[in-house]
Subunit: 144 residues, 2 copies
DNA sequence: GAATATATTAGAATTAGTCTAAATATAGAT
DNA sequence: ATCTATATTTAGACTAATTCTAATATATTC
C-alpha cells in the first residue's frame, strides 16, 4: 500500500489528484492539512501542525489532525519519527533518508542518504518483511 | 561518563561494586532494581520493571523506578529504546547492537552487531559529537 | 435525492511520565 | 557512635500526548 513518492511530486501534481489516486477521499480538512504539511519538507509535531492549520483561519479539530496524520502515515505520505516518549515528529519528506537529533538543542536534521545502511531481507527475523528503517543518530554539542 | 560494559560483567562483578565504581550510592531500592533488571539481557518497560520488582515482595515506588532508570541511562548501564509515543523500553544489554521491532506482534528483537552501520565523526552536524546510534528496523509478519 | 458509508468534532478518558514537598536514609565529620 | 548535611525515596498531584466516544456533518452510491 505504501508508495514511494516525494512531497515535491505531490506539490507538482496537486493534492487532490494524489489523494484520489490512493483511494483517499478529499475533504476540506484533509486538503488544508496536506497543503500545510507538504508546503515544504519539514518535521512537525501533531500539535505544531494543528496550530499551523488553524492559524490560517481554517477550523480543523485536533482529533482530525491526529486522524489525518495516521491516515497519511498508513498511506506512506509522511514518516513518523519517534524521538522520545513526548516527541513524535511527522516528516513531510518521505524519501529514503534518516535523522540526526541534537539532544542539546532539540534540532532534528536530515541525514544524507549515502549514510543510510542497507539491509537484505535474509537478515530479517524469520517470517517477517521490512516495514521501515528508522535510524536516529543522537548528537550533543561539542564542548570546545 | 558513559562506560562500555556488559550486563554479564555486572553480574560477574556484583552490582554494589559496579555502582560504587561509577559514583552511584547503593541503596536497597537501587540494588533490587539492578538485580531484577540485570538478571538477564531483556527489554522491559518502566511499568514492567515496577511490577517485577514489587512482585518479589519488595516495596519500591514507581517514582523510584523512573528515577533509577534515568540514572542508569545517564551512567550508560541501560539503553532507552523509543518505539513509539507509548512504548519506551529499557535494554539491560548495553553492548553495541540494534533492534528489530515486529509491529504485528510487538516483539523487540536484538539485531546482530555486524548489521550495524558505522559513522564517522566528520559526517555529524558541525560542532556536535555522537551520543548514540538508535536503529530500529520495523518489520511485519509476512502474509504467506 | 434518499440511503448508506465515511469523516469530523468536542470533550472525556487514558496513559506514560514528571513534579512536589515531606519523610527517610546515607555518608562524612567529629 | 552521634550529629549534620546531603542524597534518596515516596505518595499522590500534575501534565501532556494521544485515543476514544458517540453525536453530527459531509460525501458517495444507488
Amino acid at each position: 500500500m505504501k508508495s514511494d513518492w516525494s512531497s515535491s511530486e505531490l506539490r507538482r501534481r496537486g493534492i487532490d489528484a494524489v489523494l484520489n489516486e490512493h483511494g483517499v477521499n478529499v475533504t476540506r480538512q484533509r486538503r488544508i492539512i496536506a497543503d500545510t504539511l507538504f508546503a515544504r519538507n519539514q518535521h512537525v509535531t501533531a500539535d505544531q501542525l494543528f496550530e499551523a492549520v488553524n492559524s490560517t483561519g481554517a477550523r480543523v479539530s485536533k482529533a482530525t489532525v491526529y486522524n489525518t496524520l495516521g491516515l497519511f502515515v498508513r498511506k506512506g505520505f509522511v514518516r513518523e519519527i519517534f524521538i522520545d516518549a513526548s516527541r513524535t515528529f511527522y516528516d513531510s519528506n518521505n524519501s529514503r533518508h534518516h535523522h540526526f537529533y541534537n539532544v542539546d538543542t532539540g534540532d532534528l536534521i536530515d541525514m544524507k542518504a549515502r549514510l543510510v545502511p542497507h539491509f537484505i531481507d535474509q537478515d530479517l527475523p524469520e517470517g517477517t518483511a521490512m516495514d521501515a528503517v528508522d535510524l536516529v543518530i543522537r548528537v550533543r554539542n561539542k564542548v570546545s
